[in-house]
């Protein structure tokens, strides 16, 4: 029973190293100290299916992939090989489900599956659990499944994939890997801080809640933390004298859950307004800078501007379709942000009004 796969590049040209993480199902030994509940088997080969078949030469448990949870792709493979070629076998074989999570590792993917966890759980299962945390934190993109990845690559759509780094002990979800839609290769990274803001620009179908915005209060220089409950993002396509431009409207509502300043008074609407204003300014500033990075540096439309253009202006979309990511980098985009505080928890101010 394989629960995790790691794909790395071999030494020779075109060679793949595949690490299969098996669940150790041998009875009786699991509870004994020193016996691991998983084992890894490494094989090499030129194509995926060939590499997988080589596993049967090394163990009596031929791999069975129906319970596969995660596929970790190494940085080097993702940056040099067309991911559509790598994932082809996964999408064809009936044992693999379309709901497997894809994660891109910084560095070698193998290191992720061999990392020591303090909990002593199976790394692949631990990793799978971490991918689901989009409801808790916005510092990673929503997980991408194998099926979704196939859809995006067929449609030549750029997208974000969760990325992971090994720590001394344990793993860390570290922002996002940017996959270009045309080349279907890894072209860059977003740090987890940038990802926090990029998530406001992505069309969130699931996991609209979670994530925080932190600002330092203008007067007191003390942190104020806003907990997001809902994101609504709308793209408006406009054409003035034949020049295409986009307007992104980001609206978020949530709770004010931490405020260090002693002079706060959340029972006053005026105070809430000033905080909202600061949060809005911060949101606008940060989202614009992320958008700038995606447009100018990475040149990849991961936010779904293309879908809106296709819907609103099909003839233009047809013209720009073939080189969309390059065209996208030239189109001016304006961000409009709005933050709404709905409530502030169980405590509204530090000191009673005098």
């Amino acid at each position: 029973m394989v629960v995790g796969l790691a794909i790395d590049k071999g030494k020779k040209k075109g060679e793949i190293i595949l690490t299969n993480q098996f669940v150790n199902t041998i009875e009786g030994t699991k509870e004994e100290p020193g016996v691991s509940n998983y084992y890894n088997i490494k094989t090499t080969g030129g194509a995926m299916m060939e590499t997988v078949k080589n596993v049967s030469n090394l163990t009596d448990n031929s791999p069975y992939y129906t319970h596969l949870k995660v596929i970790v792709i190494g940085e080097e493979v993702a940056a040099t090989t067309n991911l559509m070629e790598i994932t082809n076998w996964f999408l064809r074989h009936h044992e693999l489900r379309r709901t497997i999570q894809i994660i891109i590792a910084k560095g070698k993917a193998e290191k992720i599956l061999t990392s020591k966890l303090e909990k002593r759980t199976i790394p692949a299962v631990e990793l799978w659990g971490m991918t689901q945390n989009i409801r808790e934190t916005k510092k990673m993109p929503r997980f991408v499944t194998l099926g979704e990845m196939g859809i995006k690559m067929t449609d030549e759509m750029s997208f974000l994939v969760q990325s992971v780094v090994p720590l001394q002990q344990g793993l860390k979800m570290a922002g996002a890997a940017v996959i270009s839609g045309k080349e279907r290769k890894l072209i860059g990274w977003l740090t987890d801080e940038e990802m926090n803001w990029a998530n406001f620009l992505v069309n969130q179908r699931k996991g609209k809640e979670g994530g925080v915005i932190k600002v330092l209060d203008e007067k007191t220089k003390k942190p104020i933390v806003y907990n997001n409950q809902n994101i609504k993002r709308k793209i408006v396509v406009s054409r003035k004298n034949g020049d295409l431009s986009f307007l992104v409207k980001v609206y978020t509502e949530g709770y004010l859950l931490e405020d260090w300043s002693l002079t706060e008074n959340s029972f006053e609407n005026n105070y809430i307004r000033t905080v909202e204003k600061q949060l809005t300014a911060e949101l606008k500033k940060q989202t614009t800078s992320v958008l700038n990075k995606m447009q100018k540096k990475l040149k990849a439309d991961v936010f779904g501007f293309r879908t809106q253009l296709r819907i609103d202006d099909y003839p233009t979309w047809k013209k720009l379709k073939t080189n969309w990511d390059t065209e996208f980098s030239k189109i001016p985009i304006e961000v409009q942000a709005e933050v709404k505080i709905l409530e502030f928890g169980g405590k509204g101010n530090k000191l009673p009004k005098r």
């Binding site: 489900r97 379309r98 709901t99 099926g147 196939g150 067929t154 449609d155 296709r310 819907i311 099909y314």
Partner: protein
């Protein structure tokens, strides 16, 4: 064919009989075939229009059979166009029925091999399938319709339940903009998209055995509405989940969508099992109908006792089912079957009705 009153079928049995015959293997591949022919996400418009046309043709069939309330398709055509041509038409129809049955057998075997029993030879599942069909057919018409009446609501319910579960990844953007390339692709794709809707001509056999033959037109319209609803649902759900570009690249798009259903937490998955079960039932009923009526045809054409015909048909169906050597051959078998169906259930009944009208206009008593 003379039947006692209590052996005749009710109107609802006739409706279910037609719907269950029309709905078959195509559910799993229609999204690919239709999207490929149309090229835009508007396939559902095509199938809807195709459904309207097929309903009209179904009404033609029903009207034709109402002119001959005691004779079935095999008896009508010799009466109208003379023995030799009638014989030929009947032969083609028998072959078309056997092909429909054979196609169900093969597709069923292929899908079961791909998704469920990958080490079982497909011949084995196919023979089991045929054996169960023979068992039911041997019991005659009434057990057949009673079983359909039992299975159809169940399978339709499970089908729609699974489709509702597919809604969690449904994206309406995949359909927008509607009619992006204009109306032309929709019309061009009409032929390919409407192939699975044929099969309503089976009403020509049902009218003589219905206890209220006058309701034949209503029965055709009702059963066609069911099939259109099912096919449009499949198309909308599959394209909404995958986008029309991706649907065109997958072999069994419907099952792939159902395989991606996961109730959060990944505790409940493998919903394709439910779907494949009810879908195999759906194909089984199609096979039973074609098995029974092709045996009936051979029996009436060559004056052989129908008991023997049930068994004569089995090797023929098996041979046709395993004639294609690979999966692409199977798909082209389905295409050929569709074109014969257009001829036999679209064009021939219209011609027959016209001839019947002409004859009665000329004052001949038919």
């Amino acid at each position: 064919m003379e039947l006692r009153q209590d052996e005749k079928i009710t109107t609802s049995q006739a409706v279910i009989g037609i719907a269950t015959f029309v709905l078959g293997s195509e559910i799993v591949i229609l999204p690919r075939v239709a999207s490929d022919a149309i090229g835009t996400p508007d396939a559902w418009i095509s199938i809807f229009l195709g459904g309207v046309i097929s309903t009209c043709l179904g009404v033609v069939c029903a009207k034709l059979s109402l002119r001959f309330p005691t004779s079935n398709y095999y008896e009508i055509s010799p009466k109208l166009v003379g023995k030799p041509i009638g014989f030929l038409v009947n032969l083609i129809y028998i072959f078309s029925l056997m092909m429909t049955g054979a196609y169900q057998v093969r597709i069923q075997a292929e899908v079961v091999r791909h998704y469920l029993l990958d080490d079982t030879p497909i011949a084995f599942t196919a023979i089991c399938f045929l054996a169960v069909s023979t068992y039911l057919v041997l019991g005659g018409m009434n057990p057949m319709f009673r079983l359909f009446e039992l299975l159809f609501p169940l399978s339709t319910f499970v089908f729609f339940l699974v489709m509702v579960l597919c809604l969690q990844d449904f994206q309406i953007e995949n359909f927008r903009p509607v009619l992006s390339e204009g109306v032309l692709p929709v019309l061009l794709g009409l032929k390919a998209a409407s192939l699975p809707l044929y099969g309503f001509e089976i009403i020509l056999f049902f009218t003589p055995i219905m206890n209220e033959p006058k309701k034949a037109v209503k029965a055709v319209v009702a059963s066609n509405s069911i099939t259109i609803l099912v096919y449009v649902t499949v198309l909308v759900i599959v394209i909404g989940n995958l986008s029309s570009e991706v649907v065109r690249t997958l072999t069994w798009p419907t099952i792939e969508v159902i395989r991606s259903i996961e109730i959060p937490g990944a505790f409940f998955s493998n919903f394709e099992l439910f779907f494949i079960v009810i879908w195999v039932i759906e194909m089984y009923t199609t096979l039973v109908v074609s098995h029974y009526f092709s045996s009936l045809g051979i029996s009436q054409l060559f004056s052989i006792k129908i008991k023997y015909c049930y068994f004569i048909v089995i090797p023929l169906i098996y041979w046709v089912a395993f004639y294609p050597k690979n999966i692409n051959g199977v798909f082209s078998l389905g295409d050929i079957n569709g074109y014969i169906a257009i001829f036999i259930s679209g064009i021939v009944p219209v011609l027959l009705l016209l001839i019947a009208k002409l004859k009665s206009w000329r004052g001949q008593n038919v």
